[in-house]
Symmetry: C2
Subunit: 410 residues, 2 copies
């Protein structure tokens, strides 16, 4: 079997933990498997380097930032290879340009275009454990690129896909994917299995276990991902292709996101092209709009409500104000004090009445719903931010998520 094992920043935070990483890789190797280890920078290192660059210039060039922060993973890959050698196994480190992992040229958030497995494969054939610096690649011109925060997950899953690994293990400081955030819901339960689609919805909704693109890679190439803790040997959560039994569970998890703000443009003249007129200036300003709700028209006018990242809120309001004047709208209202609460589950496809049940649970707790958005396997509601914990707990328990894995009350 071939395993790709990825260790995040907290798992390689100091020399003692790097030794643990080495021992874990060796254990897998000595059980008769091939092992590729992918490492992040030591916890805090990327921030230290970014701080250093900010002290040189407030707006460092993205090309040079990538050259700078890529050293974090380079250091860890060398130290990890040394630690493995110290324990008596052969190892060799590989940087992005050595593997080689070719990306596009979008510095700081590059996308992987191809991975050449020749060097890694021959290292494995020589009986070595290959240690790959995560998060980094090179573009076609040989410039160093990085994949964005959490990019080491993507490196690991992409290598697992390219090498047709039997599994990609993501070692992290949590022991798996939970039905919801255990910090606000004590009955949250670790899932033993979850589908790629569900994980994708949970990841994009704010559960920070896996980088979204790594899940996309896993789904596209069918790489089973095992999210687990590096601090003990317990099984974590397998992210896998959808299985028939998964449909029996209507809701797999409850996610929340407090990083968005809501904008309503009141009294928009209701004629064709109005949505384009509002949202084109926003996308031109690189503001990502998430939910969009257009109310039914009355008197030839309608209200348009949408959400944007909190960090872009002020810019978005200014942009919309200009649009408003052109279109002759009545007013613009903003609210930064909102939360998006979502339930996710592939079982929704085959179960009716899930939305009704969600609204009922929220209503019973006195939580007013401001916006609703649905997809095939997800229902999201925007509510006042103060209800976040209450709403998450009510939905979690209302859909029976605190119970034994695989059996749902709903």
């Amino acid at each position: 079997m071939l395993y790709v094992q990825k260790f995040g920043g907290t798992s390689v935070a100091d020399v003692e933990r790097i030794r643990n990483v080495a021992r874990r890789a060796i254990k897998t190797k000595r059980a008769g498997h091939d092992v590729v280890v992918v490492v992040s920078a030591m916890a805090g290192e990327t921030n230290r380097l970014l701080k250093l660059s900010k002290s040189v210039t407030p707006e460092p060039s993205e090309r040079e930032s990538d050259v700078l922060v890529a050293t974090g993973e380079q250091v860890t890959s060398a130290l990890t290879a040394m630690a493995i050698q110290h324990e008596g196994e052969a190892a060799e480190s590989f940087l992005g340009h050595q593997v080689r992992i070719v990306t596009d040229s979008v510095f700081s958030k590059a996308r992987i275009q191809s991975i050449d497995c020749t060097e890694l494969t021959s290292a494995l054939k020589e009986g070595k454990i290959a240690v790959v610096a995560g998060f980094q690649g090179v573009d076609a011109e040989g410039n160093i690129t990085t994949l964005g925060r959490g990019g080491s997950d993507t490196t690991a899953v992409a290598i697992a896909a390219a090498m047709k690994a039997d599994a990609c293990e993501i070692y992290t400081d949590v022991d798996g994917v939970y039905t919801t955030d255990p910090n606000i819901c004590p009955s949250a339960r670790k899932l033993s299995r979850i589908s790629f689609e569900e994980m994708l919805e949970l990841a994009s909704l704010g559960a920070k276990v896996l980088q979204i693109r790594s899940v996309e890679f896993g789904m596209k190439y069918g790489v089973p991902i095992h999210v687990r803790t590096s601090f003990n040997d317990s099984e974590g959560t397998w992210v896998v292709e959808e299985e028939s039994e998964m449909e029996q569970v209507v809701v797999s998890g409850v996610a929340y996101n407090r990083d968005e703000a809501k904008i309503t443009i009141v009294g928009v003249p209701d004629h064709p092209g109005i949505a384009a007129a509002i949202f084109t200036p926003l996308s031109d300003a690189s503001i990502v709009v998430d939910m969009i709700i257009q109310n039914a028209s009355s008197d030839g006018r309608t209200d348009m409500t949408f959400t944007v990242p909190k960090g872009d809120f002020k810019r978005a309001v200014e942009t919309c104000r200009k649009t408003m004047e052109k279109l002759g709208c009545n007013d613009i209202r903003g609210d930064e004090n909102i939360a998006k609460i979502s339930i996710v589950g592939v079982g929704m496809r085959s179960h009716a009445g899930v939305a009704t049940k969600m609204f009922g649970i929220l209503s019973k707790e006195g939580v007013n719903i401001q916006m609703i958005s649905t997809s095939e396997i997800k229902i999201s509601c925007v509510v006042d931010a103060k209800y976040t914990e209450l709403a998450v707990r009510a939905l979690h328990d209302g859909f029976g998520l605190g119970d034994v894995d695989g059996v749902s009350k709903s």
Copy 2:
């Protein structure tokens, strides 16, 4: 004109100094020249990284050590490029594998085999200042290599040679090459010019201003090297091809080295092949022998005296003891308490009596000479270490080195 400017660790020790480096490069650029900057790691960084590796394993693999320490120069090259951009000039950083600087595969002390100037030249043509990470290269298989301590000097001079630069400026924390160590001889004087040959002798004798290999590169390819301080604009010392006026100065500098130890094998049977029998086991053990003296033979036996680095002294004595038993020598004696004092000057070629004058000066101060070795432009004497400062000062003043540049009393 094309200038290569190299900045050592103390010149890039913090963000403020990196800004100074940027300003200096920009000043040269705005005076109408092309500029390639070569940077070392920030002072202390290489040691920090080596310490980190030692905490993982007492004997880190040299391949992985090179991957690790190469990050030091990578960080500085990115920060320096950012600092230049911040001041309004275009800049781009280059790592060893990006330039590309191809070396042999002797990790931790690799030798440069070739430099491809294509990328650097096109960056200069685009009006950019090119910032190269010193000290690092890649071997033919794409492994990261480093050139050994002080290797950034070699990077700079090698790039200057490959690009046919008009000068290679080595910025350091001293303001030039001195007639001797100012710390032990107050009348030591900065030289305005020195020949490659003299600099080579001074460098190999323990004056730590320039790495030897960088001087060899400069001599081989005729690159004028300007050693100067990064803390002000004063002229430093030019290391150049020998000029006729240099011969008028008999002695250019006095060097000393306290890092060697002396070994004498007493009563060696004096027949052909005896030197090989003694020194082959030493070179097999990678011990570098410096001076060798064989006394005149009496009764068919001779004494063989030589010096080795202090760090190899014990191993050398053990190795020689085995040889001694085989050859049937009488005794072995060692002394770690020695210093080698040398005078250097291309003028010696055309002046007689220089050695006699040196011995006279030392004798007058009561300094006993234990060993003597000479080359075309150098005379070295081994003396008791306690006489180091006394001998250096006496020779420095005796050969009139404290006087005005270019005029000698001798």
